[in-house]
């Protein structure tokens, strides 16, 4: 995968609930290129999480097409599990496996799905845990960790699959304020390493500093799309102006 290749492409994406009464996504078109950090912002209920969750088909779109690395993935004939292996995801509620310790959380998918030997997987896991400063927690269980620690482990768990792109669904929204920084630091580091990232967030500072592009969504569509500094300095649409005046 070369830089600037289109990794994810979305065409006319729609997601309706209750037989069309609720339009979570109402026609979204977008391309995400390798190496980009795309930040999605917008008021709550605007469809940004639904959009992100559609990218790995945790939400099945009502209409439209999603291409990952050139292949249409919302096709009944496609084995979505193979594609998901290359699309890492980090959730608002961390979702670490409660029945497994930290090392097992990180090594489960690489050993079962990538057929790594457990020695190999453990070595990778420990390297990654070292990178986020949590190697000493390898034998602990999720219930023994703080929210910030859990989220850093969740990032490590996704990275252990060596994904081509990482999706972040409001990764700091469930954290106590003093723990937001440690998670953002890991994400910043990841962005510097060249990882392609799609991030739904309310952290405007992070969006501005790390993002290579900002998508502003409202009512299930992308209203505005720009380079972060330009977007935050001079939003074009009235809706983006209203939104920023409330959150900044």
């Amino acid at each position: 995968m070369n830089a600037n290749d289109v990794l994810l492409k979305v065409v006319g994406l729609k997601k309706y609930y209750n037989g069309g009464k609720v339009k979570a996504l109402d026609g979204v078109d977008c391309e995400i290129r390798a190496g980009e950090v795309v930040v999605i912002i917008g008021p709550s209920g605007c469809g940004k999480s639904t959009f992100l969750r559609s990218l790995n088909l945790l939400e099945m779109p009502t209409a439209g097409e999603i291409f990952f690395e050139g292949e249409k993935i919302n096709d009944p004939k496609i084995d979505i599990n193979l594609h998901r292996q290359k699309i890492g995801m980090v959730f608002q509620q961390f979702n670490l496996f409660n029945n497994l310790n930290i090392l097992q959380n990180v090594t489960l998918a690489p050993t079962k799905l990538l057929k790594q030997t457990s020695g190999e997987a453990q070595k990778n896991a420990m390297d990654l845990l070292n990178r986020v400063g949590l190697a000493d927690k390898a034998q602990n269980y999720p219930s023994q960790l703080s929210g910030g620690q859990k989220q850093r482990i969740a990032i490590v768990r996704a990275l252990a699959m060596k994904p081509d792109v990482m999706l972040f669904d409001e990764p700091t929204s469930a954290l106590d304020p003093e723990m937001v920084g440690e998670v953002l630091e890991v994400m910043r580091e990841l962005a510097r390493s060249g990882m392609t990232m799609v991030v739904v967030t309310h952290e405007m500072g992070f969006a501005r500093e790390v993002g290579s592009r900002v998508l502003f969504m409202e009512d299930g569509v992308i209203v505005e799309e720009n380079e972060p500094n330009a977007f935050f300095a001079a939003p074009q649409s009235q809706r983006a102006k209203d939104f920023l005046s409330k959150v900044l």
Binding site: L58, M60, R84, M89, N95, N98, A109, A154
Partner: protein, 248 residues
Amino acid sequence: MTNWVLAAGPSLGEQFKLNFIDGDRWKWIVDGLLATLEITAVALVIGIVIGVVVAAVRSSYEKNKDTMKAKGGVGYAVLCFFNAVCKLYLTVIRGTPTVVQLLICYFIIFSKWTNGIPVAMISFGINSGAYVAEIFRSGIMSVDEGQFEASRSLGFGYLPTMRYVVVPQAFKAVLPALGNEFIVLIKETSIAGYVGIMDLTKAGDLIRGRTFSAFMPLIAVALIYLTLVMLLTWLLGKLERRLRKNER
């Protein structure tokens, strides 16, 4: 002190001798206890097997019906059919008294079988399966949806997700309810006398009929049940603590 039992009757020692020593009547109790244990053990296994299968069908249906319906095809029709069969089974078994089910099994379904014990094993097993199924299903449904999504996002399919993540957590959650069902089962086998089986209860009752002395045999039977249940409760408590230690 002892005379409140049988005013001016034989002493407790004499009653004991009359009921258990004379005519080797203690052997009846032993035989009855063995029958009770045999029936319970086999019914337990049958119940768990049925319970696992029914719970698997029912929870698979509930978790997958929307995506499968969208895809269409034979798989959805098959799942719908099995789900309907399971629901019918649950309704009939939970809607009729256990003793009626036992009589129907013995006098109608298996009327050619002369030995009641296998009939009782099957009948109690089918009965217990319905309750175990609902216990397992409630456990699977109680595992947070996020656990499921996290596993799917890593690339695990539905079945591996159940195996590595959901079922281990569900099992831990349902252990108290499952233990309760086992306790109910042990005691419920006391109706086996209805179909001519000499289980523990029947043995005590036979001795009472022979000796015209109710206190000793019935209290002895009650104490044996009590001991069995306390033993089981203790074992389950130990298992529960061991599983919990994993997490803390």
